[in-house]
């Protein structure tokens, strides 16, 4: 039976258990959308308002569900609009397959209408990409793309489909087996290395777990928790690791790095054994490398060999799937620990950290105006144990306050652009997350700057009756840049003051068909937030917060983690 390329694609997507597609039609992929309409029982398209939104939505869908996000876009500008989203997913290792249309094969290279070399453009920001030039290779290519996206260290894979491949005909053969000769990710940990790691842990006086996004993506959080609780090892995380370990556990000491907690940054500096799981030691995490974790022997578990010894020299590298590695580590620790009294051995260390926590908790000075941190604290208090909540953020001060003041309890409940730091990520990511988890309370926490970067997706959200709640911490500044201007540029607030320059977010919400609330006084905060959470549809809450609040602690760029500014 001969199928068109478009039909072959749909058949492949169904076999890959794809259920939703975030897309935007256009000239060369009109046939794909036409074909898609005949598979509406299995494939639901979400029509976004901008291709960047499609990719972030697919990304949010993937982060929330653990499945591979899928997006279908047209050639040329459709494809280039996707690049920021693809780079975002690449930085954070999010599994995604992006399908772009391309001009017919015979026109490639002729500067045809809406032609762009998207395979060339996305080469450095995809895990891999393909230009399909032979319809016989189409099914195999799609199979490989899904396999690459989800296996090993996950990432986005792009498939560029010329028009003649989409409309051409070929026998459809679904490749049952998938094998890429030159690609064999290593999942199994090396036992010798694990034993060395266990040795270090057993003999440590001040051990510390540092968990990253790999713990979330490999579902290793429960095993890390098991080891930490059993062996009384405190835990800190990177931004991407939030939710991998419960923020309410007494062993939890918060996020590390540039805006990490005082305790977490001191803990890294003073630990004698650091067990880093699923992190690539990014510069925002380590601060100045020459003074990072100087007293510690470091165990580094990561599935990507390039992460190891890229930034930080480690004593025990373990290249493996994080979950498999910590499962192995847990077993060896049980056998190796013997009669060790973890509680007693780590008592001094844990009480030192508790003391730091007491002396330098995350805090802010309440005032007449609403403090941004206060909004996050209120949201945390109001939703804890009452809602199955998932939060997406944009990028900037609001993102850091969310990371600091909201207690994430479960993995895949904090969706944020960590590596690339993409403003405009939050709203479309919330869209995708709500599609993935219709039963959850999905909240996008944003700033008055960030929200304007993909606000058009509010139309998609309303059109699909997705009850996403948006909370804007509105300080009428591009706050994070203003903070740097405040601290390092003599308060020269260039191009960061948005006073009087933003739309009325309440009326904007209404214009989009959502509900808008404004909160200007502390007394209104909780009642209005509650009203927003209870509203059936999409809501924007414009919270007017104090203007010049800074995020603390802060490790200035290029400084060591022990050189924190605390106020």
């Amino acid at each position: 039976m001969e199928y068109s390329g478009a039909r072959i694609l749909m058949e492949c997507l169904k076999r890959e258990q794809v259920e939703v597609i975030f897309g935007y039609p256009g000239g060369v992929i009109i046939d794909l959308f036409d074909e898609m309409s005949r598979h509406s029982d299995a494939l639901k398209p979400y029509l976004v308002r901008h291709e960047q939104g499609a990719i972030h939505a697919a990304d949010g869908y993937a982060r929330a569900s653990g499945k591979t996000g899928v997006s279908i876009l047209t050639s040329g500008p459709g494809a280039t609009n996707a690049v920021t989203g693809i780079a975002t997913a690449y930085s954070d290792s999010i599994p995604m397959v992006v399908i772009t249309g391309q001009v017919p094969t015979q026109l490639i290279g002729n500067d045809a209408f809406q032609e762009v070399d998207i395979v060339g453009i996305t080469r450095p920001c995809t895990k891999h990409n393909y230009l399909v030039k032979d319809i016989k290779l189409l099914a195999g290519t799609i199979r490989n793309a899904f396999y690459l996206a989800k296996s090993g260290r996950p990432g986005p894979v792009l498939i560029d489909l010329p028009k003649d491949i989409i409309v051409g005909k070929s026998e459809f053969v679904w490749p049952e087996e998938v094998r890429v000769r030159s690609y064999n990710p290593n999942y199994k940990p090396n036992l010798v290395q694990l034993r060395r790691a266990a040795d270090l842990i057993v003999n440590a006086k001040r051990p510390l777990f540092l968990i990253g996004g790999g713990v979330v993506s490999s579902n290793a959080g429960d095993v890390v928790t098991d080891i930490a609780v059993r062996c009384r090892i405190p835990v800190i995380s990177t931004l991407m690791g939030l939710g991998g370990f419960s923020g309410t556990n007494s062993l939890w000491h918060g996020m590390v790095g540039m805006h990490g907690t005082f305790t977490a940054n001191r803990a890294v500096t003073e630990a004698d054994v650091l067990i880093a799981v699923g992190t690539r030691f990014a510069d925002r995490v380590t601060g100045k490398l020459s003074v990072f974790a100087k007293q510690a022997r470091i165990v580094h578990i990561d599935i990507d060999p390039t992460s190891i010894r890229k930034n930080v020299n480690v004593d025990v590298p373990v290249v493996a799937d994080c979950r498999e590695a910590v499962v192995g580590l847990a077993e060896i620790l049980s056998a190796q620990a013997g009669e060790k009294n973890w509680e007693e051995d780590h008592a001094a260390w844990l009480s030192l950290l508790a003391e730091y926590e007491k002396k330098h908790p995350l805090t802010f000075l309440p005032g007449d105006e609403i403090k941004p941190q206060q909004v996050i604290e209120a949201l945390d208090r109001m939703t804890r144990n009452k809602y199955d909540i998932l939060i997406s953020t944009d990028v900037g001060q609001h993102q850091m306050w969310t990371a600091q003041f909201f207690k994430f309890i479960k993995p895949r409940t904090f969706l944020s652009s960590g590596g690339l730091g993409t403003m405009g990520f939050g709203l479309p990511a919330a869209l995708g997350a709500q599609v993935a988890s219709p039963e959850k309370l999905v909240v996008c926490i944003s700033g008055d700057g960030s929200i304007q970067m993909n606000i058009q997706e509010l139309a998609t959200i309303v059109a699909n009756k997705l009850p996403v709640k948006v909370i804007i911490l509105n300080n009428r500044f591009l706050g994070m840049v203003r903070q740097w201007q405040d601290l390092f540029f003599g308060r020269n607030y260039v191009c960061t003051d948005l006073e009087g320059q933003s739309p009325d977010f309440v009326r904007l919400a209404e214009a989009f068909g959502a509900t808008g609330y404004r909160i200007s006084e502390s007394a209104q905060l909780e009642p209005t937030l509650q009203k927003a959470l209870d509203a059936p549809g999409a809501v924007i809450v414009d919270v007017r917060v104090s203007r010049e609040e800074n995020v603390y602690p802060m490790v200035p760029a290029g400084k060591g983690l022990d050189e924190m500014l605390v106020t």
Binding site: G120, R123, P124, H128, S182, Y183, P305, T306, R309
Partner: protein, 161 residues
Amino acid sequence: MRYVLSVLVDNEPGVLSRVAGLFSGRGFNIETLNVAPTLENGVSMMTIVTSGDSQIIEQIIKQLRKLVTVIKVVDFHELAAVEREMMLIKVQADDSRRGEVLRIADIFRCKVVDVSLVDLTLEATGDHEKIGAIINLLNRFGIKELARTGTLAMKRSMQRE
């Protein structure tokens, strides 16, 4: 420190750009790069000469292995290996200088592949150092043109214990 890497790749369109883009994108150096097909259909061999400290080379090798189209990477550092490069070099050589140039060509076992009244074109093969030495010696006559293949390398069958 100079390193010679041999990289076996799937010969798909764009593979050169993937490898070259990796080097430029991450700020690694390429001194020479040579690509040609192997005996196996659809598989090519790249020989790359690069430089950096051991941590950078480790990253280069790991990053190369991470590329989906890269099948195998061999680092010739610490391996006994044969290294060769070929060069075509056009040297000014009128009647008064021709004899001298030919003597040097002879010492280095270069072949004369083209000759005119005013210049000689030589073909030379050898390792990196030998090619460098030839260029140094011929420099004073005036080098009009120069084309080099970049290094090729192969592991020796007998490795030191």
